[in-house]
Assembly symmetry: C2
Homo-oligomer: 545 residues x 2
Amino acid sequence: MKVALAQINTTVGALKANTAKMLDLIAQAREAGAELLMFPELAITGYPPMDLLDRESFVEANLACLDELRKASHGLTVVVGFVDRNLTSKGKRLFNAAAVLQNGKMTSVHHKTLLPTYDVFDEDRYFEPADLVTPVNLLGHHAGISICEDIWNDSDFWSRRLYLSDPIENLSRQGMDLLLNISASPFHTGKPQLRLAMVQAACRKYRLPAIYVNQVGGNDGLVFDGHSFIVDAQGHLLWIGQGFEEEFAILELDDLKTLTGFQWASDMAMIEKALVLGTRDYLHKTGFKSAVLGLSGGIDSAITAAIAAQALGPENVLGVAMPSQYSSEGSVTDAEALAKNLGVNYREIPIRPMFDSFREALAPAFEGKAEDVTEENLQARIRGNLLMALSNKFGHLLLTTGNKSEMAVGYCTLYGDMCGGLAVIADLPKTWVYDLARYMNRNGEVIPENTITKPPSAELRPDQTDQDSLPPYEVLDGILRAYIEESKSNAEIAELGYDREVVNWVIRKINFNEYKRRQAPPGLKVTRKAFGQGRRYPIARGYDG
Amino acid sequence: MKVALAQINTTVGALKANTAKMLDLIAQAREAGAELLMFPELAITGYPPMDLLDRESFVEANLACLDELRKASHGLTVVVGFVDRNLTSKGKRLFNAAAVLQNGKMTSVHHKTLLPTYDVFDEDRYFEPADLVTPVNLLGHHAGISICEDIWNDSDFWSRRLYLSDPIENLSRQGMDLLLNISASPFHTGKPQLRLAMVQAACRKYRLPAIYVNQVGGNDGLVFDGHSFIVDAQGHLLWIGQGFEEEFAILELDDLKTLTGFQWASDMAMIEKALVLGTRDYLHKTGFKSAVLGLSGGIDSAITAAIAAQALGPENVLGVAMPSQYSSEGSVTDAEALAKNLGVNYREIPIRPMFDSFREALAPAFEGKAEDVTEENLQARIRGNLLMALSNKFGHLLLTTGNKSEMAVGYCTLYGDMCGGLAVIADLPKTWVYDLARYMNRNGEVIPENTITKPPSAELRPDQTDQDSLPPYEVLDGILRAYIEESKSNAEIAELGYDREVVNWVIRKINFNEYKRRQAPPGLKVTRKAFGQGRRYPIARGYDG
C-alpha cells in the first residue's frame, strides 16, 4: 500500500487557506499513485480553534471545506480531521472528527473518544465524546481510525489512566489490524520521544502496525513538532518525519524496513528549532514581517535576538540598546557585539532625559519618600514605551525577552520589560538559557562570550546583580521545576535538599506574581508546564503552598 | 425544621480562614437551635480554586479542614462543599463534593454529576462526575443533595440540554422529597432571576420544596451574588437572601409563608452592587487597602472612581488628572468636580515634559515620518507609567477605567490606559456606562453632568472625539452584543438592520485586538459573555467571521 503522510502547518481558523493547501496535496498524492493520504487532527480548522468553535458560521464553513475535499478525493482515500456537528438534542454540540473520503464519497466518520481537558487543552469545553468506535475496511485492512488523545490511555503504559475507556483496546477487540492516528500534539521537551515509545508499545501489544500523522507549526504559544511516523507490528520504527518542518512523504509501506541509526536531536537542538518556528509562525500568522527588541547586553535579550534573526532574517530584526546612568559599559558594547554577530539592525537611545523628566514630574508627589523599586520600574517602563513607539511607527512586533525563572518570581517589570507581542523564551528557565547560548555557539561565537560569562544584572540601580535579589539560578530553577512542573509541596521540595526558607520565599514569590503573568504576552511552550493558558491560578487567594 | 443558610464570602485557597468562618457559624447555628446548616459549593476551598486543585497538598489540607468541621458538627446537621479524592485508578483524581456531617460523623458524601465546562467554568479539567446519586434520610426527609450545575439540565426548562443525564430527575425517581442545592453561581445580569425561575419550575414539576444556598463575593473577575432562597412544593418563593452581601439566616421552615411583594432590584442597581463588591474583594483579598486611577474628566474614569469610593471609602482613593496639550479645559475641571463630589484625593501631573523628552529621544529614529497613532500611544503610556509609579511608591492598586466597547475594538492603548490590576467596568458596554451614570445620579449629582453630556473623547490629538474613529455607541454596542454574547455571524447581524460594512469593520476590529485583551487585567463580569477567562480566542488566526 502506498501511503502519503501530510504533516502540514495550518493556521487556526484559516479554513480556505488550509483547505487549499490540502487540495494541492491531494492532487500531488494522486499523481504519485498514493492510495491513502492522511492529514492531521482538525486539519481544516487548524488546532486549537478555541472558541471559534462557538460560532455556528465557523462550523458550517468547516463543513463546506470538508465537502470540497470530498469532491477532490477521486482515485484515492483521504483521512482528514474536521469539526462534526452533534445532531442529537443532548450534550455538547460538536464532535472532534475524522472523515474517510474515498473516490468522491464520505464513506465514514469517526469521533474522538478521549477529549484532553488539562494543561493547555480544553476539549470538553466544545466536544461530546464518541459514543462508539469501530474499525473500517480500508484498502484491504481493518483499520482503526483514532484521533490524537485516543492513543494516550493504555492500561499497560500508564500507571494511572486519565479516562475510563480505551478506544484502542476497544478497536483491537473488534479486529483492527492497522492503527491510524491523526494528531495535533504540541511539543515539550521529551514529548516526541514519549509519543513514539507509547505507539511502539501499543503496536507490540496489539501486534499491528501504526501510521501517525501530526500537525506542525506554531499557533500562539503552542509549537507542534510534527515527527509523524510509521511503526510496524513488532514495534519497530519504519519511518519518521522531520521535526519542526512541514513534511509530505509518499511511501510504499511494504518496502519500508526497520529504520536503523535513527537518533533524536538533543533537547537544546529541539528547543532552538521550536523557538524559531514558534516565533516565525506567530509573526507571519499575525501579519508581521519584522521584529524589534531591547538589547541589554544580557543573555536573555541576546538569545531572543538570535532566535528572531533565524526566524525572520537578520535584516528584519531591530535591536535597541537603551542605556541609563546605571548601565555598565559592557551593556552597550555587548549589545553592539551581538548585533554585529547576528547582522541585525541596531540603534541606541539613552533613557536619562525621560527618566529625569519623570522624576521631576513626580517630585511633588514623592516628597519625603526614599528611592525604591519605583524608580527601577520607571526606567523599565520608559524602555517599554520607547520600544512600543518603534513598534507602532514601523510596524515591527515587539519581542519580550524575559525567561521563565524571572517570570516565575516576578523579577521583571509589568508594562516595562514585559511589554511585547510574544515572549520568545518565557518557558526557558535561566539555566536552560545558558545551555541554549552554549549550544548556539557550537560552531563559533553567536552570543558574545562576555554576555555568557558576566554576572546577570537588571542594571536598574548601581552595582546591582540578579543574585542580590534571587537565589543562585541552579537553586531557583530546581525549586521552580519541583513546584511548577511536578506540583510538589513546600515540604517535599525541602526534602530534595533545598533550604526550607528559600523554598518558602520562592513559592510565595511565584504566587504573589500571578497578577503579572496574567498580563504577560503569550510565551512559547517548551516544558511540560508553561505559564499561560496551561497553568490557571487565581490571583486573589489565600494559599501559599 | 429549623434551617440555617450560610451565604458566605470565602477567599479562594484560604482554607483555614474559610473553615474558621464556618466553625463560628456552626456554633451560632447550634446556639440558635438550627437542625440543618448549609454552606455553599466548595466552601472550604472557595470557588473557583482553579489549578490549586492540581496540588496534592492543597487537596489534603482541604480534607483536614473538612475533618475540623465534622468534629464541630455535634448537635446539628451540616451540609458543606469540599474537594473529595477519587480513589479508583481511572479518571480525574477529584470529585466536587458535598459532605453531610451529623453529630460528629460524616454520614454521607455526594458527588457533583454535571460539571460545567464552558464560559468561565473548567470543571472537567479537575473532576470526575458522580457515578451515582441517591437521596439520603435527613431530619425526616428523603433529601436530594445536589451541587450547583446539577439543577441546570431539566428537559422541560431547556430547549437543548448540555448534558446527557439529569441528576434531579434521577433523585426524584428515587423518592426525593426535599431538594437541597449548594452553589457557587456567579452573577451576570438576568442570572439571579433565571436561577430562581428554574428552581421554581423544578419544585412544581417534582412537587417538592427546595433550599438553595449560593456563595457571595468577588474572586478575581467573578462576582457571586448570593440570592440564596427557599421555594415550596408549589414553586412559591418563601424566602430570599440579600444580593451581593453575606447572609446568615436561621429560619423555621414550617413558619415560612409565600413571600409577597418581592421585587428584584433593577439591572443597574445589581450592576452597581456587583462592581462595588467585586472591586472591594479584589483589593482586600490581594492585600490592598487603597486605589489610584487616572481621571480624564470622561465618564469611564468617573464611574470607576465612584465605584472605588464606595468600595474602599473615598479617603482610600486617589484620582490623578494628567492633562496634555491636547486636553480640553473641561477635562481638568470635570475631573476636579468629580473628585470633589466623591470626596476622593486628587492630584494633577501635566505630561507635556515627558512627552517632549520622548519625542526628542525618538526624533532621530522617526526622521521623515509623519505623526500618527504612535504619538497618541506615547501619551497614554506616559500616563500609565506615572500611575504605576504612584502605585509602586504608595502601595495603591491601579484601577483601569476602560469599558467593554473600547476593549472590544481596541480603542485603548496597551501599557497605557490599559495599565492596572483590575478593570472595574471592562464588561460594561459604553451605553451601559451612561445608564449607570444616570442611575448613580438618581439622588443628586455624583457624576458631573458635564461629564455625561459632553461628547466622549480620548483627547490624544487636537479636537478628537470617539466618533471620529468609531460608529455611534448605540450601533457599536448592538453589534457587539450580537457578535460576542449571541455568537451571531456577520450576515445574521446585518440582518438585524446594521450596515454590513460597519458590521464587518467592527468584527475585524474585535478579532484584530485579541492580542490587547490577552494582556488586559481581569475585568469584573456582569454580562453573559465577558472578555477574559470566559472567552478564549486565538490571537494568530485566519478567520474574521
